[in-house]
C-alpha cells in the first residue's frame, strides 16, 4: 500500500461570487480504481472536477498527481498531466466532424491533413480496442448524444489520458449505451487507468465503483469503500435524510379516453419522416410510458402533441379533434385544450434562463386572466402565485427573484413541473422528467407525477431511463424508428425485453 494516489486534492476551495461551490475539499483517488462522486444538484461536483481539469482556478488548495504537487492553471496543464475529462455539458464543436473534434488541440503540425490521417488510424484502433465505434466523418450536430459522448471519451484517449473524469456520463444514455460505457470503463481500469465517475444513479455507483465520495453543499461529507455501503446509506449521506428509492403507487384506475392519436406522421425541417404512423391512447388516471432510444421519434411525438411542430393524422383530446397544421396548431391552443407539457429540454425550451423564476412560472400562460391587470400584466399576482408554487414544489433556494439559470438542474425542473402540474391539465405531456436530477429531487418529482395521475389525469411520459419508465408507467409502449413496437404492462416485462424492443427486435406479441 505504498503507491501514491493517482490524484490527491488538498483543501480545495472555490467561490463563484457569493456562492461557495467548494469548501476546503480533500480527496485521494488511488491508481487503477474507479472512484465515484455523488451529491445533490449544485453540491459542487462539477466544479471540483473542473478545477482538477484546469477549467476553473481554485481559490485555495493544492493538487497532487501521482504524489507530485502539480500546478494546473489551465486545461493544457491538465492534459499534460495525463488527465482527460468528459464534461456534463459536452465541449464539442457542433458543426465539426468527429475527427476534427478529436484532433482539436492535439494536432501534429501546422497542416491538418497529416493529423487527420493519423487520427483516423488511431481512431480505428481505439474503436477496435474499446468498442468505441463512431463514424469519423459524421458531423457532431447530426449524431446522437450517446455518440457524442463516445467522441468525448475518444478525445481523452487520443490524448493518452491516464486519468479519466466523467461528469454524469449516463444522464443522456440509453441503458444499452450505459452498459457499454461501463464495460469500457472497466476495460480502461484493467489497463491501469484511473477513473472518476460523477453520477446521480446509485445503481451505477454500486455496480461500477471501487470507492465513493459524497458531497453536500460544497463539502466532502464522506468517502467509503463501495463494498462497505448500500444505496440507502449513500442516499441518506447525500440528502441528509432517508430517501424512498422505489416509487410508491397504487394500481391505476383508468377512466375515459383523454388522448387519442391515430396514424400520426411527422416530417422534420430536413424532410425526414420522424414519426411514421403512430396510434395510441391514454386514459384518465393512467400513465403511458414511451420507452425508446433517443432519436427514434419520441421527441417529435411530444412536440406535435405540444403544438411545437406540425404533423398529419388525427389527434383527439377529450373527444375533440386538434388542429395539427393550421391556425390553432400552436402551443397556446394546446394549453387551452387542457394539455400541459414538460419539455425534454428544460433549459432550451421549458425555461427562459435569463428570466427570473417568477417570470418563468407564467411562461406559456401569460394570457391567463389571473395574470392580467387591464392592459398590463399583473406582476404582483404572478409573483405571489410563483412564490406559492416554489414553496409547494420545494424549489431551493425558495427565492422567486433569482434568475432561472442560477438554479440547479433539479430545481429548474421543479419550476417547470410546478408551472405545468398546477395548471391542473387534463393531459400532461412529460419528457425526460428527471434527466440530470439528483435522487432527492427524483423522489419528489415522481411523487408529483403519481399524485396527478391519482387525481384522474392522463399522463404521457417519455423517458430514456428504463428504470423510470418501469417504475412510473401503468402501460409501456416502445418506440423504434418512428413506430411503436408494441405495448407491455410493467409487471409483465423487464429491462431486457424492453431493451430488445428498443433496438427494433419485435417482442412477443407484435
Amino acid at each position: 500500500m505504498s503507491t501514491a494516489p493517482a490524484i490527491e486534492l488538498k483543501g480545495i476551495s472555490k467561490a463563484f461570487g457569493a456562492v461557495q461551490a467548494n469548501k476546503d475539499i480533500s480527496i485521494r483517488v488511488m491508481p487503477g480504481t474507479i472512484h465515484g462522486i455523488i451529491g445533490e444538484n449544485g453540491a459542487g461536483k462539477s466544479t471540483l472536477m473542473s478545477i482538477l481539469y484546469g477549467f476553473y482556478k481554485a481559490d485555495k488548495g493544492d493538487i497532487y498527481i501521482s504524489g507530485q504537487k502539480t500546478a494546473i492553471p489551465d486545461s493544457q496543464a491538465a492534459i499534460a498531466a495525463g488527465i482527460g475529462m468528459v464534461f456534463q455539458h459536452f465541449k464539442l464543436v457542433q458543426n465539426f466532424t468527429v475527427l476534427e473534434n478529436v484532433i482539436l488541440g492535439a494536432e501534429d503540425g501546422a497542416l491538418l491533413a497529416p493529423s487527420l490521417r493519423k487520427a483516423r488510424k488511431e481512431l480505428t484502433a481505439l474503436a477496435a480496442e474499446y468498442e468505441l465505434n463512431v463514424n469519423p466523418d459524421a458531423l457532431i450536430e447530426e449524431i446522437g448524444v450517446g455518440m457524442q459522448q463516445r467522441v468525448e471519451i475518444l478525445k481523452a484517449l487520443y490524448r493518452q489520458a491516464d486519468i479519466l473524469i466523467l461528469d454524469e456520463p449516463t444522464g443522456v444514455l440509453t441503458p444499452a449505451e450505459a452498459d457499454q460505457l461501463f464495460r469500457i470503463l472497466h476495460r480502461l481500469k484493467d489497463e491501469g487507468k484511473t477513473i472518476i465517475l460523477i453520477t446521480h444513479k446509485l445503481r451505477e455507483i454500486m455496480e461500477a465503483t471501487d470507492t465513493v465520495s459524497v458531497m453536500r453543499r460544497g463539502e466532502m461529507t464522506a468517502t467509503v469503500k463501495t463494498s462497505e455501503t448500500s444505496p440507502e446509506h449513500l442516499a441518506e449521506l447525500m440528502v441528509g435524510r432517508k430517501v424512498l428509492l422505489r416509487v410508491d403507487k397504487t394500481p391505476a384506475q383508468p377512466g375515459e379516453k383523454v388522448l387519442e392519436v391515430e396514424n400520426l406522421r411527422v416530417v422534420d425541417a430536413a424532410g425526414v419522416e420522424r414519426v411514421k404512423g403512430i396510434s395510441l391512447e391514454v386514459r384518465a388516471g393512467e400513465i403511458l410510458g414511451i420507452a425508446g432510444v433517443a432519436g427514434n421519434g419520441q421527441s417529435e411525438l411530444l412536440e406535435v402533441l405540444g403544438g411545437m411542430e406540425n404533423g398529419t393524422g388525427t389527434i383527439r383530446v377529450n373527444g375533440k379533434e386538434l388542429d395539427l397544421t393550421g391556425k390553432f396548431s400552436d402551443a397556446r391552443s394546446r394549453r387551452k385544450r387542457g394539455i400541459a407539457h414538460v419539455p425534454e429540454d428544460r433549459q432550451r425550451e421549458g425555461l427562459i434562463m435569463d428570466f427570473k423564476a417568477w417570470e418563468n412560472t407564467a411562461f406559456g400562460y401569460d394570457d391567463d386572466d389571473a395574470y392580467r391587470a387591464g392592459l398590463l400584466m399583473d406582476n404582483a399576482a404572478i409573483r405571489e402565485d410563483a412564490q406559492g408554487k416554489i414553496e409547494r414544489f420545494d424549489v431551493r433556494p425558495a427565492n422567486s427573484e433569482l434568475e432561472a439559470k442560477s438554479f440547479s438542474g433539479g430545481n429548474q425542473q421543479k419550476i417547470v413541473l410546478a408551472r405545468e402540474i398546477e395548471r391542473d391539465p387534463d393531459l400532461l405531456l412529460i419528457g425526460q422528467p428527471t434527466r440530470g436530477v439528483d435522487i432527492g429531487a427524483i423522489e419528489f418529482i415522481h411523487q408529483q407525477i403519481v399524485a396527478l395521475r391519482d387525481k384522474g389525469k392522463a399522463i404521457l411520459l417519455v423517458s430514456v431511463e428504463l428504470e423510470e419508465i418501469l417504475s412510473l408507467s401503468d402501460r409501456i409502449a416502445v418506440i423504434f424508428d418512428g413506430k411503436l413496437m408494441g405495448e407491455r404492462l410493467p409487471a409483465e416485462t423487464d429491462e431486457k425485453e424492453l431493451g430488445l424492443m428498443m433496438a427494433g427486435m419485435t417482442g412477443k406479441d407484435s
Binding site: A331, R334, A362, R372
Partner: protein, 364 residues
C-alpha cells in the same frame, strides 16, 4: 469578476469611464495646442451651464431618445435594427406630408397627426426587413442597412423632384404652415413662469420622447407583448414551446422599433426645421445604437445616455463657436466616451473594484 455594490455599478463606473474619456480627450486638446481646461469648461458650461445650453442639449437628446429606444426595443427581441437612419428619414416624410397638405386648426392636433404619420411611415419602412427576416430568414442587419440607402435615394428623389417648391435651391419642402409649428420648450416654460432661453430648438416633442420612454418601459416589462418579445429574444425554441408566434413577434417588434425611430421626425422636422430637408436625420439613427447599448436597452439608461450625447453635441458646438479646435475633436471625444463607458466598462469596473473592494478585504 469582482462584485460591486449596485450603486457603484450604476453610478461610479460610468462616471469613472466618463472621466477617463475626458482625460484622454483633454490630452488630445493639449496636443493640438489648446488649453484643455478651458475647452472642458466651455463644453460643460456650454451644454449644461445655461438654459440656452439645455435648450440645445435637450433637443439633441430628444432625437437620440427616439432612435435609442428604437434600437433597444428590437434588441430585446434579439433583432439588431441598424435601420433607424432610414426609418427616421421616412418618418420625416410622413410628418412633411401631413403638415404640408392638411390645414390643421391647432398645433396639438397637428402634433397628434404628425406623430401618427411619423410612426406609421417609420413602421412601414421597418416592415419589409422584418417580414423578410421572419419569413425568409434574410438577415435583418443587411436588409436594414440596405433600406437606409434606399431611403436616402427615395428622399432625394421626393425632395428634389416632388416636394421642393418650384425655383428653390434647397432640396427641401416648403416651410410648414404656421398652425403646425410646435411650441418650443422655452415658450412652454416661460408661459408657466419658469425662465428658459427662447430660440432654442428643444420643443414639446421632448415630452413625447419622455412619454415614449414610459411607454417602452411598460411595453417591455409590463405587457404581455413585452413579455413575449423578451422571451423570444432570449430563446426562440422556448418561444415556440410557449406558443409565441415568431413571425408575428418579429414583425410587431420591428414595426414598433421603426415607429419609434420615425417619431424622431416630429422633433427635428416638425419641431426644429419646420420643413423636411435632405439628410435631416444626420446620423442620429447610428448614434441611437450607441445610446441603446450604453443605456443597456433600458429606458432610464437610454434617457441618460441620450442626454450625455446631447450634451456632447451641444458642448461640441460651443467649442466650435469659440475656439479653433477642429470639430473632428468632438467626434473623437464621442468615440472615447463610447469606448470607455460602453465597451471598456469592465476595465473601469475592475479599476473601481480594486479601489472599493480591496480595503474591505483587508479589514476582514
Amino acid at each position: 469578476m469582482e462584485q460591486l455594490p449596485k450603486w457603484a455599478d450604476l453610478i461610479v463606473v460610468p462616471l469613472v469611464g466618463l472621466i477617463l474619456a475626458f482625460i484622454l480627450s483633454m490630452l488630445m486638446v493639449l496636443a493640438t495646442g489648446h488649453d484643455p481646461l478651458d475647452a472642458l469648461k466651455l463644453m460643460v458650461s456650454g451644454a449644461l451651464g445655461s438654459t440656452y445650453g439645455w435648450g440645445y442639449t435637450l433637443y439633441y437628446a430628444t432625437n437620440f431618445i427616439f432612435t435609442g429606444l428604437a434600437v433597444a426595443v428590437a434588441f430585446h427581441a434579439s433583432l439588431f435594427n441598424i435601420g433607424g437612419e432610414g426609418q427616421a428619414a421616412l418618418g420625416g416624410l410622413g410628418v412633411a406630408l401631413v403638415c404640408l397638405f392638411i390645414p390643421w386648426p391647432h398645433w396639438t392636433i397637428a402634433l397628434l397627426a404628425a406623430t401618427a404619420a411619423a410612426g406609421i411611415f417609420g413602421a412601414l419602412w421597418a416592415l419589409i426587413p422584418a417580414y423578410l427576416q421572419a419569413k425568409r430568414g434574410s438577415h435583418i442587419v443587411i436588409t436594414t442597412i440596405m433600406f437606409n440607402f434606399i431611403a436616402a435615394s427615395l428622399l432625394n428623389y421626393v425632395l428634389v423632384n416632388q416636394l421642393r417648391p418650384k425655383g428653390a435651391m434647397d432640396p427641401a419642402t416648403a416651410k410648414f404652415p404656421k398652425p403646425s409649428h410646435l411650441p418650443s420648450l422655452g415658450e412652454i416654460l416661460n408661459s408657466v413662469g419658469i425662465p428658459f432661453a427662447k430660440g432654442t430648438p428643444a420643443n414639446v416633442t421632448l415630452l413625447v420622447a419622455l412619454a415614449a420612454c414610459v411607454f417602452v418601459y411598460y411595453l417591455i416589462w409590463r405587457t404581455r407583448l413585452g413579455y413575449q418579445l423578451r422571451a423570444f429574444g432570449k430563446s426562440q425554441p422556448a418561444a415556440v414551446y410557449a406558443g409565441i408566434n415568431p413571425v408575428k413577434i418579429t414583425i410587431i417588434t420591428m414595426m414598433i422599433s421603426g415607429a419609434l425611430a420615425g417619431l424622431m421626425a416630429i422633433n427635428n422636422v416638425m419641431g426644429e426645421a419646420e420643413r423636411l430637408i435632405l439628410g435631416s436625420v444626420e446620423g442620429a439613427g447610428f448614434i441611437g445604437i450607441a445610446v441603446a447599448l450604453m443605456g443597456r436597452s433600458h429606458p432610464i439608461g437610454i434617457l441618460f445616455s441620450a442626454l450625455l450625447f446631447g450634451a456632447l453635441y451641444q458642448g461640441g458646438a460651443e467649442l466650435g463657436l469659440w475656439t479653433s479646435i477642429p470639430r473632428e475633436l468632438v467626434i473623437v471625444i464621442q468615440a472615447l466616451v463610447i469606448l470607455f463607458t460602453g465597451a471598456l466598462d469592465n476595465m473601469v469596473r475592475l479599476m473601481v473594484a480594486k479601489v472599493l473592494v480591496r480595503p474591505k478585504r483587508a479589514e476582514a
